[in-house]
Amino acid sequence: MKRRSFFLVASGALTGAGCGHRRSAPFRTLSESEAATLEAWCDALIPSTDGTPGAKEARTSRYIDIQLTRRFRKFRPQYQQALAAIEKMTGGRFTEISVEERTVLLEKIEKGEGDKALWGPDGGREVFNLILQHTLQGFYGNPRHGGNHDYVSWRMLGIPVVPVRGRGVAYGA
């Protein structure tokens, strides 16, 4: 091996190890396919319509992914199971079916009517509520936590990103 190519390999290993070649940030805890499944799930919970943004625009799946490295760490197994289970129910096509079809499936889970072998004794009710709650947080919460991208939900509701608020308001007396 020539010296030059040795360095090429070395630098390849370097960039490969240090940083990826991607432009858009990858997910941190979820695999690419898990992330896509989660996004489809969130999208069914808060769909985007013509005029109004939904979970997709707010990037709630990214919010959840980031929080799975921190506050939600303990929920990781539940997420992995649920995302695998919903894919099983659709033969791995959950991300391809329509919002309406996804909604029908999720309603089943919500009512605890999921296959107990896949979803556990409560038929998926608990994990459904967990993901719903996290999706709402990611949609309405402060962007500093990774969701509500560019304040989309606040804008939709007409809540100013930063109101004009003098000193005195918060001072009580």
Binding site: M1, A10, T15, G18, R144, V161, G166, R167
Partner: protein
């Protein structure tokens, strides 16, 4: 076999070189090198469109070997924050970087009100004994401080005596450049000649970097999202200049809830200057105003007053000479006299 060995060695070498190499990647500075680190791709993309596109990353960002190793370590330890974010110390260090290119603005800011220090804001005996210290103080000054008010000052009560728990911040400015400017956003550089030829101060468009660092979302909020309030004189909505740049001033110099003029820190012009923008009189960084008077007066003056020397200073909000609120009737309670001097009168020199 030989190749396998070589690759193994190369990988080992890569490990050894990793820190210096990332260091190099940052320093090499071309946005591309930095963009390889996916977390910062959005910043690189914004930078490529920004008015600072010709300025390299490390001309603003500290890029010491240790910092870069910290970045890599955090990265691998999975301790990457929700978004990459500068620390308070980084923000302060960057002020010096800005200074290296924008010396005039830096000097004006230094001599102006907004270079006010942590000490004079948070150890002010009068203020502290009247208003209890609280985290909300950081909304308008000290916004980059990491921690709550109890991490900065003690005791948190109205009795005192107060001291800074972080004595190192005593002389540190609480409104650094990055309180009002954000760099990673779309904007054309204004080349000097374009500016002189095309844009006079009157019709000046807002510079793209203007943004308030919002303590709540820990991110700069650009001018377009900083609202101009509706301010009332009793029931009447006061006529307001459409100059969007004031949105920045109103984040801090704001009226109280209800929006009554003169309430809180409000300075909305009313009376003879109603409808003027703060920035028609106040210059950007020094906060001074005198040089502005002559840009409109004497042409518009009725009274033959020398605007360069007239009394405008009244801390007392009820003063009849308060430059923000004075009305014709305040000086002419019996009605405005008939005009004697022509508007081109030399009495109003310069």
């Amino acid at each position: 076999m030989k190749t396998v060995l070589a690759i193994a060695m190369a990988v080992a070498l890569a490990g050894l070189l990793l820190a210096p190499a990332t260091d190099y990647a940052y320093k090499a500075g071309g946005g591309e090198a930095c963009a390889r680190c996916h977390e910062i791709a959005p910043q690189v993309e914004a930078w490529m469109e920004s008015s600072h596109r010709e300025v390299r990353c490390e001309q603003c960002h500290h890029s010491g070997m240790l910092t870069n190793m910290r970045r890599v370590r955090d990265h691998w330890a999975g301790e990457v924050p929700a978004k990459p974010r500068m620390k308070h110390a980084d923000v302060l260090a960057m002020t010096e970087r800005c200074r290296s290119c924008h010396q005039q603005e830096y000097a004006q800011w230094r001599n102006g009100p907004h270079s006010v220090t942590f000490e004079s804001l948070f150890l002010d005996k009068k203020h502290n004994s009247e208003r209890i210290l609280m985290d909300d103080c950081f909304r308008c000054h000290g916004m980059h401080f990491e921690g709550g008010i109890e991490d900065l000052v003690q005791p948190v009560n109205t009795e005192g005596p107060w001291e800074l728990k972080r004595a190192d911040l005593k002389n540190t400015p609480a409104l650094p450049c990055l309180s009002c400017h954000s760099v990673h956003r779309t904007g054309q550089p204004l080349k000097g000649h374009v500016r002189k030829a095309g844009i006079s101060w009157r019709e000046e468009i807002a510079r793209p970097s203007l943004a308030l660092f919002d303590r709540r979302s820990l991110a700069p909020v650009a001018l377009g999202d900083l609202p101009l309030p509706v301010v009332y004189e009793d029931e009447r909505p006061v006529k307001m200049s459409p100059d969007q740049r004031q949105g920045l001033c109103y984040q801090c110099h704001a009226p109280l809830a209800g929006g009554q003029i003169k309430s809180g820190d409000d300075r909305t012009p009313m009376g003879v200057h109603e409808g003027l923008s703060c920035l028609a009189c106040h210059d950007h960084h020094r906060g001074t105003t005198r040089t502005s008077c002559a840009t409109c007066h004497p042409r518009l003056s009725n009274c033959g007053l020398d605007v360069e020397t007239m009394d405008t200073t009244f801390a007392n909000k009820e003063s009849k000479h308060n430059i923000h609120w004075v009305k014709c009737a305040d000086c002419h309670p019996k009605g405005v006299p008939p005009k004697r001097v022509s508007s081109s009168s030399p009495r109003l020199a310069p």
